[in-house]
């Protein structure tokens, strides 16, 4: 069993004129393989910041706290090393890279985890690729196109999940993998994630919609507000939020937090 722990994590970002702003204000979270966690929360509360910080995006500065993978701090590791240790982030806004085909990129990613003298064979790679393409209902043509270039919003999301299935990380952080997906695509993407479920896989799913959690049923649901996890519970917590909204929870917890809706 593998464990990912986030301990009292404080994160700042740089804004204009050397100003800094604290986004995460002490996040605590522990997840094990075999578990699916969901994080919900209002816009701008720091969900993407949390996932990017775990992955190692250098735009986010950890000022306090720690992130541990199997008890070892990963804060000093660059992003590629964290990835090779088993972390994966399906990004809210994946980059587009011209000149590099999707297939070539996937092979490079797989091979980066393997020793120089044991790179994946073309046959094995194609077999695995075909299997996952059909699971995700994607055409082979997508893999010969340049990485994400000109992909529609939904195609990009599917492509993130294709990478997940090919790379097979230990922990996957999925940031709004459901946004912009039509109902069919939502089911396909969920099928992909569910196919990874098992004792050797854990996932942290960031979403705004209970609907995704009908397809990928979480073991734990966390609610994040203003840079902290303010409540955790089981799958029912998401349903409750859906009907009552964040304002209800905030008032119930007696939190002093501005929500976007309040300003309207």
């Amino acid at each position: 069993m593998a464990t990912l722990e986030v301990k009292d994590l404080h994160v700042e970002i740089k804004e204009e004129k050397d100003q800094t702003r604290e986004i995460l204000k002490g996040v605590n979270l522990t997840m094990n393989t075999g578990e699916i966690h969901a994080i919900m929360g209002p816009n701008g509360t720091g969900k993407s910041t949390l996932s990017q910080t775990i992955m190692g995006n250098s735009a986010y500065h950890v000022t306090k706290g720690d992130i541990l993978l199997n008890g070892e701090s990963i804060l000093g590791m660059p992003v590629d090393e964290r990835a090779r240790k088993g972390l994966f982030l399906a990004m809210q806004y994946p980059a587009e890279i011209q000149g590099v085909t999707n297939a070539e990129f996937l092979r490079a990613a797989i091979n980066s985890r393997r020793p120089e003298d044991d790179q994946i064979s073309v046959m094995d790679f194609l077999k695995e690729l075909d299997k996952n393409l059909s699971l995700l209902d994607m055409s082979e043509e997508m893999t010969e196109r340049y990485l994400n270039e000109g992909f529609s919003g939904g195609e990009k999301k599917r492509n993130e999940i294709l990478q997940l299935l090919m790379i097979k990380p230990t922990f996957a952080l999925l940031d709004e993998i459901d946004s912009g997906l039509d109902i069919d695509a939502l089911q396909v993407v969920s099928k992909g994630v569910n196919s990874m479920r098992g004792d050797n896989f854990g996932s942290l799913i960031i979403t705004h919609y209970q609907r995704l959690l009908n397809y990928i049923v979480p073991d734990v649901v966390h609610v994040m507000m203003d840079g902290r996890i303010v409540k955790s519970g089981d799958a029912d917590l998401a349903k409750k939020l859906e009907s009552e909204g964040y304002a209800g929870l905030r008032d119930e917890l007696g939190l002093d937090v501005d929500l976007v809706d309040d300003n309207r």
């Binding site: 992955m55 190692g56 995006n57 250098s58 660059p78 992003v79 590629d80 990835a83 090779r84 994966f88 982030l89 990004m91 994946p94 980059a95 587009e96 890279i97 011209q98 000149g99 590099v100 990129f105 490079a108 990613a109 980066s112 985890r113 340049y146 990478q163 790379i167």
Partner: protein, 434 residues
């Protein structure tokens, strides 16, 4: 650059003796001597925002002929049914031209044989029509000290489907400047693609002057690509020019990854109405090397189209200047000239420049330009690395993407792949020292 006082009369006497002993026809010997006379007062070629005056390009003012070791070409991939020409130093190692093309009148031979055997053509075209020997000091030097090269003639209406590959291997196992010339005459309605490979064997410090002149006849279709990989001890001057006749189509696809300083000068002269040229250049610089590249198109004829697209990548402490020069001459109504010059800085100690220079003397034209000097996109790098790919490979992939806009448009897949491979090699070299 030239030792203070050269005794030009002595140089002429020596050149005359060497050229005659080499069996050159009198008309060419005379041209050499005229070039030496002209050289003395001519300026160096103009290169905006770039200084190469101190480069040792013309240290060698002697003309000598010697045989090179043919085995220096042994590493070339075997290819029996390719059209190819291989020259090591001044020694022609192989000329492969299918009989049926020879029967149609195609000529592929070394330049000196052409002076002797096809003097009607060479006399008329060699540094007379496309590039004139007395344009500047370096063109005069070219004619005076020429010591190797190729002549290709494609008669009217002949279509050569297979690419013609020329391997020009600089022999730097000895002290000897490479002064090489590729003269191509593509007659009306002909079609061909020519792939040049420039490499160096040996590590003696020598200059390389590699000139290409192409005469593109009416309705001809010529594609010229070059993969330039000259050695670390070679300062080079690469002068390439094409004249386009009516409705001719001409493409340059050039990858410059030499290991020493390079002055590149690429020109398309669109003389005939309706002619069209595409100039694509990729350059990668590493170490302390410096490359200055002029990519020039001149719209002279009506309704001519001339596009420039250049991409450069700089590593370490290198320098790269791209000048995109669009010259639209008065009377070239309906001309169209677009250019894009972009450089990517992989190091903050490198110095890159992308200058669009437009000289437009006609109202009825469409001309546009884009230029940029930028850093590698951190977002792209992060994305690739977040999948486990290490930083250096991620950088190379992003660079490939950046070069992709030019690479993609190279029509011959084998040339495209060769360029990708050589760029990859060069990038790995450059990253090695970071």
């Amino acid at each position: 650059m030239i030792s203070a006082v050269q005794d030009y009369e002595a140089v002429k006497t020596a050149v005359k003796t060497a050229a005659s002993a080499h069996g050159e026809p009198q008309w060419f010997v005379d041209r050499r001597l005229a070039a030496i006379d002209a050289m003395q007062d001519l300026p160096l070629p103009e290169m905006k925002r770039y200084d190469f005056h101190r480069w040792p390009l013309m240290d060698n003012m002697t003309l000598t002929f010697r045989d090179s070791d043919k085995h220096l070409a042994d590493h070339l991939p075997k290819a029996d049914n390719q059209i190819r020409f291989v020259q090591v130093g001044q020694t022609t190692v192989a000329v492969n031209l299918p009989d049926e093309l020879a029967a149609q009148g195609v000529i592929l031979t070394d330049i000196f044989s052409a002076f002797r055997e096809h003097s009607d053509l060479t006399k008329k075209y060699f540094m007379e029509k496309v590039t004139k020997y007395n344009e500047n000091k370096l063109t005069a030097y070219q004619q005076a000290f020429l010591n190797s090269g190729i002549f290709l003639y494609v008669p009217k209406g002949v279509v050569i489907k297979q690419p013609i590959e020329a391997f020009l291997i600089q022999d730097s196992t000895v002290k000897q400047a490479m002064v090489s010339h590729v003269l191509i005459i593509a007659e009306e309605d002909s079609q061909l693609s020519f792939i040049q490979h420039l490499t160096t064997e040996g590590d003696v410090a020598n200059a390389a002057h590699c000139m290409v002149e192409v005469m593109s006849g009416a309705n001809s279709h010529v594609h010229f690509s070059s993969v330039d990989e000259l050695g670390e001890q070679t300062y080079s001057f690469l002068h390439r020019r094409a004249n386009l006749s009516r409705n001719a189509r001409f493409d340059w696809a050039i990858g410059i990854v030499n290991d020493q300083n390079t002055l590149g000068d690429i020109t398309s002269e669109l003389i005939g109405e309706g002619s069209h040229s595409e100039s694509k250049v990729i350059a990668v610089t590493t170490g302390k090397q410096s490359n200055g590249i002029n990519n020039r198109v001149v719209n002279r004829g009506k309704h001519t189209t001339a596009n420039i697209s250049q991409r450069g990548v700089l590593l370490e402490k290198s320098e790269l200047v791209f000048n995109g020069i669009g010259d639209i001459i008065h009377g070239a109504s309906g001309a169209n000239a677009e250019q894009e010059n972009r450089v990517l800085m992989m190091s903050n100690q490198a110095h890159g420049d992308a200058n669009p220079i437009l000289l437009i003397d006609e109202d009825d034209v469409i001309a546009g330009h884009a230029a940029s000097v930028g850093q590698v996109d951190q977002n792209q790098l992060y994305y690739l690395m977040s999948r486990g790919i290490d930083k250096k490979l991620a950088q190379r992939l992003v660079i490939r993407g950046f070069l992709g806009a030019v690479l993609d448009e190279i029509p011959l897949p084998e040339v495209r792949q060769e360029m990708i491979d050589m760029i990859e090699r060069k990038l790995e070299d450059g990253q090695h020292f970071e």
